[in-house]
Amino acid sequence: MITAGVDIGAKTIKIVIMKDGQVIGQNLVMAGYDFQESLKTAWDEVLTKTGLTLNQIDRIVATGAGKKEAGMAHDQVTEISAAARGAITLDNRVRTVIDVGAEEGRAIKIDANGKVVDFAINEKCAAGAGAFTEAMARALEVKLEELGPLSLTSTQAVAMNAQCAVFAESELVTLVHAKTLKPDMARAVHDAIADRIVSMVRRVGMENEVMLIGGVAKNVGFYESLKRELETEVIVPKDPELVSALGAALLAAGK
């Protein structure tokens, strides 16, 4: 049986194709301003790579903020169920899933079967998602992918009081005036968002093992701050952004 999961996020579109329980193709594209165009590109690329056509796929399940826009999907599942399914399949010891995307952060508690026990979502507020680190990288005039490594060279913790991405930007300007070093400010940014994510995790109750997924999982600075705050090891899979699409593909196969 061939299934596919399509995760339509705020910033990227992810597709995972599976055949008889094995991943045979995956793709990630930026969701450009012509969103349907990006979706078509994502499909064309992965179908070419796998040598398949769309109707050879028995079942397609969509998830993500834009799941309703996936005209080719047979069904939709929530981001919570997709993330839970993907995480437990990658590592059956996982009991807490932290999913931080571009515009939403989620904490999910699962049982040994991967069933969702509890969840908390931080939505519609940039301070609790990747949009925060993006805005801060711009304010510090570094590329987003450099922000994480930069923060690792920090030698001291600096507190950030602002709980809003817009106000945090003004706060960074004040810190710059006070001659704060860039690595320290970068670390402050990650500590701030990790603080918010951890508070959300505590609402569902943290239980080991903890897995971090979503685009922000690739940010080493955030990863370090998160580990530090949770005081525990955190598992990050090889392609953290594709975990929900994987989960959707698995759910499509009835797993």
Partner: protein, 96 residues
Amino acid sequence: MIANFGYKDGSGEYFLSIDTDKCNGCRDCVTACPAQVFEIRDEDPNDPFREIPVAAIKDSERKKIKYACGPCKPVSKRPSLPCVVACKQGAIAHSW
């Protein structure tokens, strides 16, 4: 006066109210709160003519009140809030 401490952001509205007419500055809320968000002020900066101390939410906590109060408000099986129970004057209320 009803002093509402907290905020509204994209994810919701979170306000902890203290009725200062009922508050007598007894400190029970300070002791009861596991997250230590309360403090007692000898002078009320919102009411310069008030004669007795008043309870308030610390400035360092009020913009993160959703997170600070998080542990007392689990997603399921929510118990009574320690601060509300501790206040004999019934001055404390939560909006969420």
